[in-house]
């Protein structure tokens, strides 16, 4: 592929499956599907335990993206959609998940997913999504107490980072590391608009800045923007970051620097991916709703 045709924005699609859980004897298969504006994920729980997940790019068609994510999570397992007992759809495309039994907001799902991933001590969650950014306060059970989200704008989101990756010709997964390979921290670029930030980045390159320095200025701008969002709702420990940008140390460490609060990290060697927190929360909701339904059916049967 020529340098010009290379897609610097393209992030790795992730997949996970475990042999520790036998889905055929698990009793129930519940699924959470998060169709976001940029990425889609499916998480499969077998008997309430994490069995597999898959994260892929959202296409132009939400139902197809949901199907692609689910088939990726089922790939090689011998499982089919007929084996699934309950599906919860979430994300901006949640109402278009074709096989969903229920749609639940991504705010509730991210809180529940973060509670599972990082533990019940999490009280503040920053979800840095593809095209929006939310700060969620929750209780020890992962129930949402309060939240705030940015206006509909790509600044400070994953899509903004993709645009900068393409503009500067740096693979998106290298941005975090390279943004620290600088002599001193630069002033942030425009933090109000991705289009302004892009033209400012180009101007800085022409003014002789190194690519790494421009990356640092962009990561700092993004960190400043989301930190002001965090300020509006307040930060309470523990703090956890979900969404694709959680994997960008250049932004995460600068947010920690501005807020003065260190974000919880997943344990070393963890197979979990902060980008699947929403789908994981949806799968946990699916499991709880299935159990509730079964209980109600059993009670109705006993009454007869």
């Amino acid at each position: 592929m020529t340098e010009q045709a290379r897609e610097f924005w393209r992030w790795s699609e992730t997949a996970y499956q475990t042999d520790d859980v036998d889905w055929r004897s698990a009793g129930s298969i519940t699924v959470g599907i998060d169709v976001g504006s940029v990425s889609s994920q499916a998480v499969i729980l077998a008997g309430g335990k994490l069995y597999s997940f898959y994260s892929t790019r959202t296409g132009s068609n939400s139902p197809d993206s949901a199907k692609k994510a689910l088939s990726g999570a089922m790939d090689g397992t011998g499982m089919s959609t007929d084996d699934v007992s309950y599906v919860v759809g979430t994300g901006y495309g949640r109402v278009n998940v074709p096989f969903a039994n229920r749609a639940i907001t991504e705010i509730a799902c991210h809180a529940r997913g973060a509670n599972f991933m990082a533990g019940p001590t999490v009280r503040t969650i920053l979800d840095m999504g593809g095209q929006d950014c939310k700060v969620i306060r929750c209780d020890d059970k992962g129930k949402v107490q309060n939240f705030i989200m940015n206006d509909k704008c790509a600044a400070g989101t994953g899509r903004g980072m993709e645009v900068i990756a393409d503009t500067l010709g740096v693979p998106i997964e290298d941005i975090g590391r390279r943004s620290f390979e600088i002599d001193s921290e630069p002033e942030p670029v425009s933090n109000v608009c991705t289009v302004f930030a892009k033209s400012e980045a180009t101007a800085l390159l022409k003014a002789g800045w190194s690519v790494n320095r421009v990356l640092a200025a962009y990561c700092a701008a993004m960190a400043e923007r989301v930190s002001s969002l965090i300020d509006r709702i307040g930060i309470e420990r523990d703090f956890f970051i979900t969404g694709g940008i959680a994997k960008n140390a250049g932004v995460v460490r600068r947010i920690e620097r501005i807020t003065g609060v260190e974000a919880l990290k997943l344990p070393e060697g963890s197979n979990l991916d902060p980008q699947v927190a929403g789908a994981l929360g949806a799968a946990l909701f699916a499991h709880a709703l299935l159990k509730k339904e079964q209980k109600e059916r059993a009670a109705a049967g006993a009454d007869l």
Partner: protein, 93 residues
């Protein structure tokens, strides 16, 4: 959960805030009857609790609909917040 429904007009940004935890167990549903614009409904939230919400078609019309009740002159109270006995409703005016 604290649910904020906001709008912006020429005089600033405003929010109707519903503390939905206080709606749980409310049988009066006074907000639904009190709002002259019919903006409130009781619906199931993500946790299967019946709570007050602003109806979907009303969310983008708050600027026009809420301004009818804006405290001004002799009108000093809001029908919705005054009617809500559990104290779940507040308005940033």
């Amino acid at each position: 959960m604290i649910a904020n429904y906001g709008y912006r007009d020429g005089s600033g940004e405003y929010y109707i805030t519903i503390d939905t935890d206080r709606c749980i167990g409310c049988e009066g549903r006074w907000c639904v009857a009190a709002c002259p614009q019919g903006l409130f409904a009781i619906e199931m939230d993500d946790y299967d609790d019946e709570v007050a919400m602003i109806v979907v078609p009303g969310r983008k019309l708050l600027k026009e609909k809420c301004s009818e009740c804006k405290p001004a002159g002799e009108r000093t109270f809001l029908p919705c917040t005054s009617a809500c006995l559990p104290g779940a409703l507040s308005h940033s005016w």
